[in-house]
Amino acid sequence: MIALPPGSASQLRCCHASGCRSAGGEALLQALQEAARDTGGTLTVKGVGCLRLCGRGPLVAWDGPGGTALFGDLRPAQAGDLVRLASPGDHEERRRDGQGSQAGSQPARGSDPIVPSTDQDTGSAAPGGAEAQPEAAMAALASQRLDLEQPFFALQRPLVLEHCGLIDPDSLDEALERGAYAQLQRCLRELSPEQVRAEIRLSGLRGRGGAGYPTGLKWDTVALQPEGPRYVVCNADEGDPGAFMNRSVLEGDPHRLLEGIAIAAYAVGAERGYIYVRAEYPLAIARMRRALAQARQRGLFGGAPGTASFQFDLEVRVGAGAYVCGEETALLASIQGRRGCPRPRPPFPAQSGLWGAPTLINNVETLATVPVILRMGSEAYAAIGTPTSPGTKVFALSGAVRHTGLVEVPLGTALRTIVETIGGGSLEQPGVPGGGALKAVQTGGPSGGCIPADHLDTPVDYESLRALGAMMGSGGMVVVDTGTPMPLLARHFMAFSVSESCGKCVPCRAGTVQLAALLDRFVEHRAEPADLQRLEQLCAMVRDTSLCGLGQAAPSPVLSTLRWFRAEYESGIAGP
């Protein structure tokens, strides 16, 4: 399963990605490192990227002699207990003492090596009595143990996230051990840029930034522009509320992304690249910068030695964090030091991007998939997912669902599998009138729409979601329960569009404001009969006439909730 670093019997992997950090993960990591100091080096403790079940953070994985065990909802105060549990010495001791008949079994197999039989001890387990009653502390840990065989983990197919949570993101060596940069080296040695592009084209990979544009086609367009400088840009703006798929790659496996970008640069003939990250992601920025410095030091960037034909260097650019700056033309303007405002396309960035030069712009997840495709081969990659939506996709599952976190599954997986099996279904909401039952799933964030519960068997791929008036978007998935009125949900997203509009074009700048005001009337049950038609007309106008995707998609949450939950709007009309 997990290969342990040589010489160490046991290791603890503590998530210190943003999600767990906000739940105290950093303090936990420090406490673990402190406590492990006394074990004489038999136990290694390292910080890793997202372990995926973020809702139970902070999480720690223990790779012990028998396999891996995962613990959630940890508190820094439990660090000593965890270390005692995981350090081989103590473990042996306890085994000798015969405390617990299953002491020697595999942690990963669901049985429990760590505590005496629970029925015997949990009854007397007093919280906080860790020092006085080690048994109680162990029992507490046992109860925080998460089953790695549960569908949340078992049904995932991590490709993009395969090393996230396993490796220390600050260690180039760990990344190299797991094959980082091997595909880049192979490309430089064995494959022509055309061959690399052919692999990507044949894999059928589609852009993960939202629209699902064929990546190979985009690479070809850039590569086939007239001679001259060209650029590659990684879009790591990730402004969708509730989405953190890209952040997990940036924070958990930065070298994967760097390798993907470098391969893209080789394939399109770019000598310079940018990673555009929002300032709200300070950890991601720090990790990327450090990874870049490490890769540079080893000669992987800035003109790798022995590869005279490949001159490439990369820069991390920090964006102020406006949602619209994720839109590609706005992002490019921002890199050039101008106001982050979209411009009409065509010309597309592939034809005329940074400083008028052909520019390849791809999403983090798209680029992080590239090394996987080259390693597996396009055919094997294309066999995952569906014919028109190949591969895997990372989703951020949140809202009224039992298990929240990151889910990477093959495209085409039924929505029901994601939400009910992997996510564990909707969360009971005691005290919320009508709360608890699953009502709909909102996909695609402020640009997306709702899929009602009776369409849960829909396969999650680009076409099926669009046919239902929703959208893949970047991968946000919010489970909505029956306690949430749809006009309220629509207004929530519209409020986001109102505040994030760049203000350049009138339908988006002034239209979304009017849409929000109209939605207010429905939410507050004071709409007039004519307001429904007004709402629909204005939605169509804003959608069809806005300059960029922000305005064009802003009415989507309204239109999709109107489509499936029209009665809720009708009941928002005040009686005579």
């Binding site: 406006a322 411009r343 760049c502 350049k504 074009c505 700048r509 002034a510 204005l538 106008m541 006439t545």
Partner: protein, 239 residues
């Protein structure tokens, strides 16, 4: 110079290669409403009034910021376009404070003209009456934010023609406003040469000469075009 032919509302027209769709539309003798566009300034496609339907293209395209190409079939006047244009004008009127009777530009206002062109006699959207200010710090001119429609013509003329770049846009969405310098009172911005080009190109009563009273604004919108042409063709160069 190579020439391309295309069809506008079913009518064939020939224009020089590199022309915009707007130039083609005009060559066909069709009047398309515009606000953010001004000959001589770079196109931005912001007001969305010149949107047209091109066969085979799913999205509507801004004629001012799209290139004409051989064989295009362009519609400028479908019922849908007409409705959207009218809605856009309604949104313009509802988002600012446009009380024409008290405006220096009354009778010489492009927003007013466009409203007449698209047949907008009232707005179906509630007026928002935002609280906006007036900047009278400049010795010669004034800026009334209440009338500003954010067409950014002043921004572009000052940057692209006068090369002073006094103006820019600050904030986002409904809070957008044009600012002088680093959001200073206009009169305190040293970079301003007092040339008046921004006032000349403003389509509404937002920028005006201080002495002007109601209905006295007489802008010179051709000037940007003349200056740009003169510069492009080196008309000022001595032999």
């Amino acid at each position: 110079m190579s020439v391309i032919t295309l069809s506008i509302d079913g009518q064939p027209v020939a224009v020089p290669a590199g022309s915009s769709l707007l130039q083609a539309v005009r060559a066909a003798g069709i009047r398309l409403p515009t606000l953010c566009h001004l000959d001589g300034l770079s196109p931005v496609g912001a007001c969305r009034l010149c949107l047209v339907q091109v066969e085979g293209v799913s999205r509507l395209l801004p004629a001012c910021a799209s290139e004409a190409s051989e064989g295009l079939q362009v519609q400028t006047d479908t019922p849908e376009l007409r409705e959207y244009r009218r809605m856009a004008v309604e949104l313009f009127f509802a988002e600012g404070n446009h009380e024409c009777a008290y405006c220096v530009a009354n009778g010489d206002c492009e927003l007013q003209d466009v409203a007449v062109t698209v047949g907008m006699d009232h707005s179906r959207f509630p007026y928002r009456w935002p609280n906006r200010s007036v900047d009278a710090s400049h010795p010669l001119f004034s800026l009334d934010h209440n009338r500003c429609i954010l067409c950014t013509r002043c921004v572009r003329v000052c940057d692209e023609i006068e090369a002073a770049h006094v103006w820019d846009v600050a904030e986002r969405g409904a809070h957008c406003r044009i600012i002088a310098g680093l959001d200073q009172p206009w009169g305190e911005v040293d970079a301003c040469t007092h040339c008046g080009k921004c006032v000349d190109v403003c389509p509404t009563g937002a920028l005006f000469h201080k002495a002007d009273g109601t209905a006295e604004k007489h802008p010179d919108r051709e000037r940007a075009q003349h200056l740009r042409r003169a510069r492009d063709q080196h008309e000022w160069q001595h032999r």
